[in-house]
Symmetry: C2
Subunit: 364 residues, 2 copies
């Protein structure tokens, strides 16, 4: 630790930009348009995913150097769960334009403050089991930016997942750092199995580490119109932001910039990463009784499960008594205004409920 | 109808005593100690079972001649759902002592008002599909009391039910009236099957029809100590009630009086009777969509069921949105302070939940 900190203090300051603009529907009815996934404690306990993201960074990035990129409608809720992050660090995009404009804008803000800024761009809504290992990977990535690389963290796959993009490993650049051979779109199952067996592919978890100036230069090369827009916003203040940001090209940083950039590096990570993609993930991460039931357990709250196994029950009412009898593998989510019941193995289909509710005018 | 009414007006007045002291646990969490089954709309719609019981009697017994026998703790709730029944007609037993003391006490009150009173003693918490047929059966039973009989209504069995007592038919006494050969305890399945096939047995549904004086005389013969107690209560007012009622023998009218009485008659009834014995019955009686889902449908309430069949969902919150995805045959009951989820076919086991909650101090 001591040697790491010395090295860090000898380099330029590290900032984090946490991407917290998402508004997913996969956690309905807990998640809503103004209370999306990252603001919910979906990995167990009562710490929101975003709060956990900021907390686990603290040994590397103090809260005053953490920036949150989010939407205007989420600004208040975001500040509320991050009391240690300065309010001015919560950056509100006027409209969502995917990750390239967002990261470019944040990089330009930090570059103006600190031209040497090294930036960790991180998702706000993932869970990480081994936080020490995670920080070690970030330290390696921060080292790797010194050579001018745009660096990403690739997760060592644990299953042939078809829902993620992959990163193909290229030649070694140093200890635990490899060149990125290419980014790969979501594969079919056969290909995904090959990736797991071949050990040459990692999951793309949306983590990017770079020096502010390197990213802005890469943007200027790959998407000059985006670079122009960002400079105009930086020069014009809030008014320019409201006017220009909505005109920026809506594209991911992967497609818009990374794939068109030569000096890409990747650090493999194996730290118990979980993207908390559905209620099924929430059940996996939750504290469970010996029968695999994850039940509400606020102070004074009573939950009973008779002949019941593998259920997840969540309620927004910490005084509500929960009773399960003879049920298995269910997800039950009770909020003030809605109640969802489904099998865990249908968790990927929550969108069908949200779509049905939109037609009927229900709360989504 | 005209001829029936003429005959009724030519006889002594008809009173009803509705037995509404029950405090079952089978409908937890909707039913509670101070909100038992009879106060809940468990047969669909929003009419409590007790309110339906009184309403369906109206062509035969106007509300001012309906008496409700209930417990002191239920008096307020009972009056609240029966605005047309005079408050003084809601009789509060100081403690529950089963049906014999309750019926004897009510009979003595009515006999004092009207020595010729004919009384219908009826359960408060059953459902009757064909109300006209039910009233016709009661009219036949009222005719049959004129010969001094204690009369009961026996339900024509539709299945070999082992959960009910049976009434064995004796010799005919007149059109649709038979002597009672004997009361039979709950049979095993083989015996119950024989009863259904033999067509000589009816279900005992706890309905008793008699002249007040005949019942009091039968009590004096079968249980003289109960007769004494009832007279002492009648003579001594509220103070005597509080002092003596708790000392009366706790026994059912069936065992204590009917089985020891010779002049018993029974009128067979086939009017879509349902004892609303569990959440399964509530589902059977509820309005359902084409997939067999009985979902909340208050004005403005939104319920969606995707790939779901045969579920019953109840919520005490008429504004709550309900969403089912991929579930079948579940009972989901949401009250202000509790939530129960179980398969319909476990409905008989709700007591296991109530027992578990009692140990933990939950709301029962």
């Amino acid at each position: 630790m001591a040697s790491t900190e010395k090295r860090e203090s000898g380099s330029s300051a590290v900032y984090a930009v946490v991407m917290a603009g998402g508004s997913g529907t996969r956690f309905w009815p807990a998640s809503r348009e103004t209370r999306p996934k990252q603001l919910l404690p979906l990995a167990g306990g009562d710490e929101a995913l975003l709060a956990a993201t900021v907390r686990r960074l603290a040994p590397l990035v103090p809260p005053e150097r953490v920036y949150i990129a989010t939407g205007a409608r989420l600004q208040a809720g975001t500040r509320a769960i991050l009391p240690d992050v300065p309010a001015a660090n919560v950056l509100a995009e006027p409209v969502p334009r995917n990750t390239a404009p967002c990261i470019g804008w944040a990089a330009s803000i930090l570059a103006a403050k600190d031209p040497e800024a090294r930036i960790l761009v991180l998702p706000s809504d993932h869970h990480i089991e081994n936080e020490e290992a995670f920080l070690d990977v970030l330290r390696k990535a921060l080292d790797a930016v010194e050579a001018g690389n745009l660096v990403t963290v690739g997760i060592v796959p644990t299953r042939p997942e078809t829902g993620y993009g992959y990163i193909e490993l290229g030649e070694p650049l140093g200890h635990d750092v490899r060149k990125v051979a290419r980014f790969v779109e979501k594969p079919d199952l056969a290909r995904a199995k090959g990736y797991v067996e071949g050990k040459k592919h990692l999951w793309n978890a949306g983590m990017f580490i770079f020096r502010a100036g390197d990213m802005l230069a890469a943007i200027d090369r790959a998407m000059p119109e985006l670079g122009e827009g960002i400079r105009a916003i930086q020069a014009g203040g809030d008014e320019a932001l409201a006017k220009i940001f909505p005109t920026l090209p809506s594209i991911s940083i992967d497609h818009g910039v990374m794939e068109k950039t030569a000096n890409l590096a990747v650090v493999p990570g194996d730290f118990g990463w979980n993207d908390v993609g559905s209620w099924e993930s929430a059940w996996e991460l939750a504290a469970k009784d010996e029968a695999g039931n994850a039940l509400p357990s606020a102070a004074g709250q009573i939950s009973v499960a008779v002949d019941s196994r593998g259920n997840l029950v969540q309620t927004s009412d910490a005084k509500k008594t929960i009773a399960l009898l003879g049920v298995e593998g269910l997800v039950v989510v009770d909020t003030g205004d809605a109640l969802l019941v489904m099998p865990r193995d249908r968790a990927q289909d929550v969108r069908a409920i949200v779509d049905a509710l939109k037609k009927k005018g229900g709360p989504v």
